[in-house]
Every structure is written in C-alpha cells, then in structure tokens.
Amino acid sequence: MTQPTLVSIAQMVGTNEDAIEAAVREHARLVYRIAYSVLRNHHDAEDATQETFVRVLRYGRKLEGVEDPKTWLAKIAWRVAVERSRRRGFNQSLSEAEMQVPSMQFRSDLASAEESVLGNEMTQLLTLFISALPEPLRAVLRLSTVEELSTAEIAQVLGSSEASVRSRLFRARVILKQKLASLGK
C-alpha cells in the first residue's frame, strides 16, 4: 500500500488547481533535477520546470485521472527537457555550459575544500564521459542519477521495460568504468 501523496489528496478533496499546486510543492525539485540531468544548465532547467507545469495546467483535466502523478510529471519533464535540448542542439557535442559546471549549483556534502575541488573535477570528467555515451544508455544513466526515481519509474518515463533499463544501466556503467580505468593507467 503506497502512502497518499499531497497530489493524490488534492485530487480527492480539492479542485484541479489545488492538485496542480500540490504537484508543484511536492515534485518541483524532481522535475528540476530531471530537466537539469538533460540540459546541464541551471537557467534552462528552471525554464523547463516552469514549462512542464504550464503544460500540466494546460492539460489539467487529465491530472484527475492520473494514478501516479510523480511518474506522469517525470515523463512530461523528460519530454520537455529533451525537446529543449534538441532545439538548442545540445546533442551535437558537449556544450560550453556543460563544461563549466558552476560549483555553486551543487550541494556539497564533502567536508573539506580539497574534497570539494576533487568532486567538481570528478563531475566534469564524468559529464564528459556521459555525454560521449550512446543516446539510449545516456538517457537511462542520466535519469538514474535523479535520486527520486526508481528503476521502474525510469522504465515508465522512457517507455521501456525494467529489464532493459537495468541492462542499459549496467552497460553504461561498464563503459564508464573502462574509461575511468584507462585514465588511471
């Protein structure tokens, strides 16, 4: 039995607007992270987040019949982010924004400044390697870095099976490990 979310309560009790407001409160960060995972740029990610919720407002009547608002929103956010990235030609190569990952955008769990610097370097390196991955593997890996999403939810967002998501994730990790190992040699 799943716990009732704010959105589901609003769906049952309040109006459609209440449900959308609840969705904003509950899932805005998830939507932002999904958008950021694709766009790798703070401003674009925020714009994509806003566009996602505007789309939700436009198709608000559908929200009443949605069983899992989180996955539904994640799907819309993913689509919006991918559309934006295509529009701006993010897929061509690693963009400048991607290379210059501002350290302020990351919550630093690392204790020392040295670790923080290392962490940033690590992230930049990883960003490079991930952007070089084939598209299907890259999509799965990017969504897997969003904490809130499980494998089943990633599968729903991408419209594929859980098994395929797992195998793609495994392949992506293998490729990344190979690249990292080659760096160490």
Binding site: E17, R25, H42, T49, V54, F106, S144, T145, L180
Partner: protein
Amino acid sequence: MKDQNQDRLDDWLDKALRQYGNVQPRIGLEGRVAATLEVARRRSATRKRWGLCVGTAAAVCVISTFIWKDSNSPQPVGNTVHNFSTQLPKDATPKIPGVHKTKKSGISNAANNTRRNSRNPGIRTAASPRLSEFPAVRPLSQQEQLLRAYVNQFPKQAALIALEQAQREKELQALYTENSTDSEQER
C-alpha cells in the same frame, strides 16, 4: 587485487554519479513556478473572455444581418406566399405558338423536332421563337387578377386612383429634383 580495484572503481563511480545528479535548484523554485502558473492561468482566462466576447459579437452580427436581410426582402401582399408555378391550372400552361404545330405544319425543322421528341417525348420544343410575342404570354398573377376585377367593378374609382398616383409621383419627382439641386448648390 583486481577485485579490489573493481570495487574501488565502483565506489568511485557511485560517488561521482551521486555528485553528478545531486543538483539543487535556487531557493524559491516552487514560488517562481507557482507565480508562472498564476500568470498562465490569468492569461488563459483573459483569452477565454476575449474569445467569448468575439464569439458573441460575431453571433450578434450574423443574427442582425439575417434579420435585416429578412426585413428588406420583398414580401407578397397577402399573408400567404404563392408559388405561381405550382398554382397554375393545368390547362393554363403558356401556349407558345409553334410548339404544338410542329407536327401539323410542314416546316422544314419539323423532322428534326420529331426526332428529338422521339428521344424525349416529355419535352416539346418550338421550331423557332416568335419574337413578336416575347416575353411569352403568361397567366395573370393573383394580384393582377384582383386589380383587374377591381377595375372592372369600379372603373371610375380606379381611374381616380390612377390619376392620384400619377400626380403623387410627379410631386415626388419634383421634390427629389429640388432637393438634389439644393444639395449641389450647398456644395
């Protein structure tokens, strides 16, 4: 040793991926999104209102045009609209000379007509139009019949009315010409 290295690499990758995905939006994202939604909501409401206004105006225009056209269209004097084509008596169909004579008369086109008539027996065409009787003779309409009956019954009154009408028309024409000359002079 190799397994240890693999484990270390796995750990490092996990940590790096966590770092990669650990992004926090600027403070107040929810508020900004809510504000954008409010603006979008207002905009859509305004658009709906405008659409309603435009739709209503268009509907009013269409209805008023329809009414205006309906009131300006010429109407029959009586209460009922008569369809003269259906009201005509069967024997009162216009008799165009030559139509029935084609077979009897020995005109050169007769053979041609009979050939056509044999193909379509319902239609009979005249050999040639008689321009002296153009337009073709047709029975009087109901109004005309009524007028004729009135004139037959009260010839004096009818003559007086006709005179009155003629005078009235002359007066109107004079008035119209005066007005037009005045307006030209003003210019």
